[in-house]
Amino acid sequence: MQQENPTDAGASASASASANHIPGEVGIWVVIFGDMLVFGLMFLTFMYYRRENLPLFQDSQLHLNQTFGLINTLFMLSSSWFVALSVQAARRSQRRRACGGFCLALLCGLGFSVVKVLEYRQKVGAGILIDTNDFFTFYYVLTGIHFLHVCIGMVILGFMARSSWYGSFTARKIGHFESGASFWHLVDLLWIALFALLYLLP
């Protein structure tokens, strides 16, 4: 029987709440900063090519389904919110809330994936491929690498949901949750930029 126990992680909770706390292991932050640098450079490269051939990029953008982009933004923002709530619940040893939040975040990730696959199918069906033009090369490469991150993130969310249900909330476990959560928030913030640059920018 799973019990809510608000006391057994008191020490880890207060450690996690203090100032100057690195959320998660240092290793995950090497990955996060590396990803941010690479994606940052790709955003700037995209903008440079866009500037060089603005009419082509604007015309090509008309073929994107902005509603799909908006729905996926809502999925991403909501999943990040659920994950942040779960980490807080784990620090308070609130098992059901922690596990429920991770599961809801995972569902949002699945929703994002379904929309993404539908979108790719529409594009391929319309004969729009990675080599159609520069805009769609960026579109497939940027959203493709991002989608790979979503898939990895969903596996991590699955592990976190399981781990939050079994065993006690040790400081070590909460550290793992913070690492996984930080990675998922990275996936969220990269999508925020992709949605603006690829879908919305007029």
Binding site: A13, S16, A17, S18, A19, N20, H21, I22, P23, W29, F33, M36, L37, G40, F43, L44, M47, Y48, R50, R51, Q66, L70, T73, L74, L77, S78, S80, W81, V83, A84, L85, Q88, A89, R91, R92, E178, A181, S182, H185, L186, D188, L189, I192, A193, F195, A196, L197, Y199, L200, L201, P202
Partner: protein, 85 residues
């Protein structure tokens, strides 16, 4: 510890900002697409900064981590705005 209520307010703020940038992307308020584009980029990087500070808890992280994150947001945002105009 960050309260669930604060996290929910942050989520609502992010949804509101998304709605605003959607409106700017569809001709609301700004006459020229150029200005609308700049507004969309600024809103996007504002949202990113909020996610980093609030959801990723960088607000409570060591100064060096916060500076690195803020520098990334500022640098990439400035670069994108300049290249978009």
């Amino acid at each position: 510890m960050v309260s669930p209520k604060r996290l929910t307010l942050v989520w609502l703020l992010l949804l509101g900002a998304t709605a605003l940038s959607w409106a700017f992307g569809h001709g609301a308020m700004f006459v020229t697409p150029l200005n609308a584009g700049t507004a969309i980029v600024l809103i996007a990087f504002f949202k990113i900064r909020v996610v980093i500070l609030e959801f990723m808890e960088i607000r409570h992280a060591p100064a060096l981590m916060r500076i690195a994150c803020e520098a990334w947001v500022l640098g990439i945002c400035a670069g994108v705005v300049v290249l978009s105009r």
